[in-house]
Symmetry: C2
Subunit: 456 residues, 2 copies
């Protein structure tokens, strides 16, 4: 605890003052009266730690400091708000703050996904609050609903679009027919992608969020390392077109599932991120641009959808301030907020054991028996074929000879990832197969479309 006197102002230290931090400072000023009325005490910014103080003439000179370590443990600080991002030095700073009894509000998905347990323990030990609504899906209230509103229910799945950059890129590829590289350039030019886009396009950002969502939804601990992660660099214009021809759309999905065990053992958890084909009629398919949308399925509640802006200065600041007011209210009544519970130590299913459907595109020789040979490999690896389609060529595996190539597209029923992987390996060994052009997962996302009654 801190030395705060009852009724005294809630004193806030801010770490980082970029786009989000700047919005936080603005809102703390513009809405000071409302915030004070909602908290039950004035909310006062007592310090802002930035790397280069001289670069922030917009901030009152008295507030700015380069000494973050000194700021987070200052006696006159009640809450530390962190919008710097990254692991170090932030991890050390926040642990120091929590040990000193300061409550922490952070938007740091990477740190939470890697060391959430350590931070939670530190908060428990000192009786401080640790809130991080802004870490996932920006302004969309998602973590609090999972942690509190749905805490009396059994959540079975959380699936959605949680990275705006990749959704913007995939949306523009779909609408313009552009390739990945061009779409990424456009996203960078418009400020939707960072100079180094890898955290977004390689799926790491979404994976961190998936770890946080799975932990809260299933009351267990899932870290970023537990999340199977594939990005969108390999998604081609041809893939997008192939999806469209099947009335599907390709989205980068974060999927967290509770997988019932067959042998009566404890359920397992699956957390994964990858681009997948989803039916174009599914509500998630029409989530364009930088927006986020997340589906939650629970046994009693049924299906829920949350939709909104997943990033940006103002939306993220809104989530941070919501947590700030919550922590402030707790301080005013001398208490603390409810913890997330992590009593259920559920095993995380390896990707190889996760079953999904697949869309496999092959370049094969246009000659007799090729289709039969390909089908045989799928059968031998217990991957059941739902549909096969041949593009180009005229003999669809009928007559003799010829070195022309045709494209063969196979859509499978649900099969374990490991079985599909060995099938693909075997296919590449067939001399009639010139190459496996692409392997895309197909996610039906359950009965969502009809159940949601969404017409399109």
């Amino acid at each position: 605890m801190t030395d705060r006197a009852q009724g005294a102002p809630i004193r806030v230290a801010l770490l980082g003052c970029g786009t989000v931090g700047g919005e936080i400072v603005r809102l703390l000023t513009d809405q000071a009266d409302d915030l004070a009325a909602r908290v039950g005490a004035p909310v006062e910014l007592v310090g802002v730690a930035v790397r280069r103080p001289h670069k922030h003439p917009e901030l009152p000179a008295g507030l700015v400091t380069a000494d973050a370590a000194g700021l987070v443990t200052r006696d006159d600080v009640d809450i530390v708000v962190e919008v710097v991002g990254g692991i170090e030095p932030v991890r050390t700073l926040l642990l120091e703050a929590l040990k000193a009894g300061k409550s922490v509000v952070t938007a740091n998905k990477a740190l939470l996904a890697e060391d959430g347990a350590v931070l939670a323990e530190a908060a428990d030990a000192s009786g401080a609050d640790l809130y991080y609504e802004a870490a996932v899906a920006g302004a969309i209230p998602l973590l609090r609903p999972l942690r509190e509103s749905l805490v009396g229910d059994r959540i079975t799945r959380v699936a959605g679009i949680v990275n705006g950059t990749t959704n913007f890129i995939l949306s523009s590829m779909a609408s313009s027919g552009a390739g990945y590289t061009d779409a990424l350039e456009e996203a960078t030019r418009l400020g939707y992608a960072e100079a180094d886009p890898s955290a977004d396009v390689d799926g790491y950002d979404a994976a961190s969020k998936a770890a946080i969502l799975a932990s809260l939804a299933f009351h267990t601990r899932v870290t970023a390392a537990d999340v199977h992660c594939e990005g969108i660099r390999t998604v081609s214009a041809a893939d997008i077109a192939a999806a469209a021809s099947l009335d599907c759309t390709i989205k980068l999905l974060a999927i967290c599932e509770r997988v019932p065990s067959e042998d009566g053992a404890a359920d397992a958890v699956s957390a994964r991120v990858y681009p997948a084909m989803i039916p174009s009629a599914h509500p998630l398919a029409s989530v364009d641009g930088a927006f986020n949308a997340v589906f939650v399925e629970a046994e009693a509640a049924g299906q829920l959808m949350f939709y909104g802006q997943g990033a940006g200065g103002a939306p993220t600041a809104s989530a941070v301030l919501g947590d700030l007011v919550a922590v402030g209210r707790n301080l005013v009544v001398g208490g603390r907020g409810p913890r997330e519970s992590t009593y259920a130590s559920l095993p995380v299913l390896p990707m190889g054991a996760v079953s999904t459907r697949y869309h496999v595109s092959l370049e094969v020789a246009d000659r007799a028996g090729v289709l039969a040979a390909v089908a045989r490999e799928f059968a031998q690896h217990d991957v059941s074929i739902a549909a096969v389609r041949q593009y180009g060529g005229g003999r669809n595996g009928g007559s003799a000879g010829g070195s022309a190539a045709v494209r063969l597209v196979v859509v499978t029923h649900a099969a374990p990832d490991s079985a599909l992987a060995s099938t693909v390996e075997a296919l590449e060994g067939l001399d009639a197969v010139r190459g496996v052009e692409s392997v895309l997962r197909v996610e039906d996302l359950g009965r969502s479309v009809s159940a949601l009654g969404v017409t399109g």
Copy 2:
């Protein structure tokens, strides 16, 4: 406070055991271990008050009682869960419970919309919790996000579909072309409408929810009496068809808006419920059947959407149990949850002062000058016309004579409700006007469609 010992079970009294109550009892049993782990103490059902105990053989005899008044103040009760509904005797029972220091979890929208302030004061006085997530939009986490997640932001509008019965009826009218009466019969047969449907079809249920939403969103007190309320009985197949011809869909909307004052005075609040035409491309238009969906607009967060099942035993029970766990956690740490704040005493705008657009359908004589006469009345009442369309007849107000009738449809720009009302009155006075067939509001719901980036 109660005489509960630390670590002791959280003892729950249930009022009412119909569809929702039955689900609550089932979930309390089936998920006992999970709930105990999440609360930090076992959750124990110690009594169920019902009108006719002998009608509930499914409940342990020891638990059932007809003496609700006795149950709610029993020393061994920590939390009272109410799923009876209606004003009395529930109001008295819950006030007694709160006065006795019992925390209350209720799904009673009518009581909260009428006497929320009294209940909140009683809870404050005794330091008890008062939670009611289930009162609005069933399982959709909506009240907690408004009260907590968005508490650092300035909410400008909450608009949505919050009554499943009327949405089911309007959806089936739109898809089948059926009239209101047939659609209502179908809804009743399928269990989506009650024997006496007036609370739903006359909009009272939605109005209660609008009052609760407006109170939380704008940190002020709005009661059901403050909500302008129109139901769907007067919506005809012709209205639905007229809407469709304009690429619109008719939905019963609950709309809560923060209306900036022009003269620098305090903002006002508008809370209203009525059937309105909305663009078919708007996400709310594709919410079919008994589902609910609510849009929230906030200055920093931007636009958010919440979607899910708004009613039914299991979804409602999910929301009730979420609150039950929240209250339980508070009891375990010896504290209480954050209150909603109602510091802002914002005036409620009378409907006459609320501006919306209108779709007016008139039956007029098919003769010279009619259109001019009609247009003059709109102009004289300062209601600007956006478009006029004539159906039937051949002379569109051109040539002379004739007693044939044609239909004239006028779509206006935004105008105050009072101006439109006096315009309609004046139109009915014109002898060329055989009758005003229908007056429907048109809600564009802001920049939602494009801002949401929803393609379909």
